[in-house]
Amino acid sequence: MKPILELSNVSKRYPGFSLDKVSFSLEPGYIMGFIGPNGAGKTTTIKLIMNLIRRDEGEIRVFGLDSLQHEQEIKQRIGFVYDEGHFYENLTAAEMTRLIAPIYRHWDWDFYEKYTRLFDLPARKKLSAFSRGMKMKYALAVALSHRAELLIMDEPTSGLDPVVRSEFLDILRDVIQDERCSVLLSSHITSDLDQIADYVTLIDGGRIVFSKSKEELLEEYVLIKGERSLLDSGLRDHIVGLKESQFGFEGLITAKEEVQRLAEGRAVFARPNLEEIMLHCIRGKAQ
């Protein structure tokens, strides 16, 4: 199957920060979590996909089309939700939508009505009076109302309180199941992606650390805890990332059988979550 989004060796250089040969791809119908710490290059990558900034090298293909040559055609089929609204706050939701709707060829007012009702969005209220959660829901309603095949979301849950965040993710999961669109969702809150992502791409310091399916990741990595003395039995070589304290250590490993043999029953193994994988991979890189 042809990827719906494909980045090949994409680079962008700024003074003090570079996005270095970023490559990953997303298959149609899946949700990809794009994770990394603040300043890792998530927003820069998304801006490059949306042509908001110019790339120095590399190629970006969306729906199999070059993102520069077919920019308008691609943007007709993309929905976007950014970390901030970027809407005119002195307008009401209804007025803002009247500006955006005619731009899309496949805008569907029935869809829009459906989502604004579902998200409980007041049409006559000024956007400045919307809470952050409401603004995100409004952006999602707009993104979905033109039957987007690919949703690009940049930190949509950052700044939302846990209740609103959970509600937003529930909506997102339901909507995506119904509409069957692909999603690239960047977040530094990895617990969001534990729930909904099929694939996970980790970026750190402008470089891709890994891009794999969530199942693959959870199968590949194992969390190990034990006494520090264990580390001297050759275990250290198998550890991706390590956190030591005076009481013991916690690490992320890949070759579970070999480590189990070395630990001789003196270690505890656990299934890591995305946050633990991210933290240990980044820590491992630094070490």
Binding site: K47, L52, Q72, Q76, H86, Y88, I103
Partner: protein, 213 residues
Amino acid sequence: MISLLYKELLVQKRVLGMAFLYIFVFSFAMKNLGEQLPLAIITAVSYMFVLYGGAWDEKASSDRLWNSLPVPKWKIVGAKYLSVLVYVAGVAVLTWAVFAVLSMVGMGGISTPVRLEHAAGAAISVVGVSSIYLPVYFALGYMKSRMFNLLMMLATFSLPWLLSDLLVNRPAWAAFLEKTRPVGALGLVAAFVVLLAALSFFVALKLYARREF
């Protein structure tokens, strides 16, 4: 393009009251301009709308929005240029309305009616000044172009006088226009401004294409 033009009007509808107030105040403050009063008011208030338009866009960080939507850059830039004419037309109508009311109630001693020439002169002035300002705005954004704005504001206020000098006072250096004025002179100036606006549009488009959001 229609959406972008509609946006210019929609985001500014709430400053309409302020426009009425400006026209009202200027009608008294600049009364000594006599025949040129409507031209000066339409020019000044229209250019204020041009500036407010940029300020609203900056406040909303709307460049990121419009450039993420399937809207080509030439339409974003083009709509801004077209909106200048829409503002002049709108402000001319408002000025006509305010003047009509003032002369009806006999307030402020307004005797000059707003004529089509005033709107045409204002259109030439505002398009001319905007043609210099807008490439800077598209290159730097509203906040960074504020200092340039200030200079343009001064130019906006002085341009009607220069124009009226050209059209009414028959300056010596414009002797070649004598045979053709006033329509010919206005036509020449208008042609020059149209050329300037076209050139300005292409420069603005080129500079805007280089911007990153």
